[in-house]
Symmetry: C2
Subunit: 113 residues, 2 copies
């Protein structure tokens, strides 16, 4: 298995893990775009949003709920934050294991990139 | 009920609705930031990400699955797309009924705003 996020999930390589539960692992982005920038990844390998099945609805919901919990822990819940998922080249996806970006600690502009 | 997205869900006001199912309604953003820019909203009123309950995991997953289906229908699945949810002022949230932005048809930059 050469997927770097699967290796993080399996603790085969190091990451700054900040949260884990039954469904997801969350760790700090190594190229942060804001003072809080965390990636939430499902433990199950799903390469892109296009590969999601209906049965994965719970997993995706749990990714967002984990982001919400982390926003509270990082003290950005009330000021606000942005959640982003990128698919394929136009979206800017660079690692092909589904991941949700949690970004906070500054005001985000519109459009979102 | 003065929530504009609830009024769209109830068909009390018009919107360019492109999809509906048991959980969500999707319609075109009136200020599009890309050639495809659709908002996916839960039928249930949830004001921000901070108000999500664990029991809402299925709803949130279905929002993302609806976005995935729409990406296929709009022909942007392979080139790619970006999904965004904003919370409160730093995130840029302007309507206080949870919504997921599906954006596609161009290459998106990083950071996401």
């Amino acid at each position: 298995m050469s997927c770097v996020f699967c290796q993080i999930v399996k603790k085969e390589i190091d990451a700054a893990v900040v949260y884990t539960d039954e469904w997801v692992v969350a760790f700090k982005d190594i190229h942060p775009q804001a003072s809080t920038h965390v990636l939430i990844v499902p433990k199950k390998h799903i390469s892109t949003l296009n590969q999601l099945q209906d049965a994965d609805a719970e997993i995706v919901g749990r990714m967002v709920l984990a982001a919400q919990k982390l926003a509270g822990e990082f003290g950005i819940a009330q000021d606000g934050y942005r959640l982003v998922m990128n698919c394929n080249s136009d979206g800017g996806q660079t690692v092909f294991h589904l991941h949700l970006h949690l970004l906070g600690g500054r005001r985000f502009h519109w459009p979102p990139g």
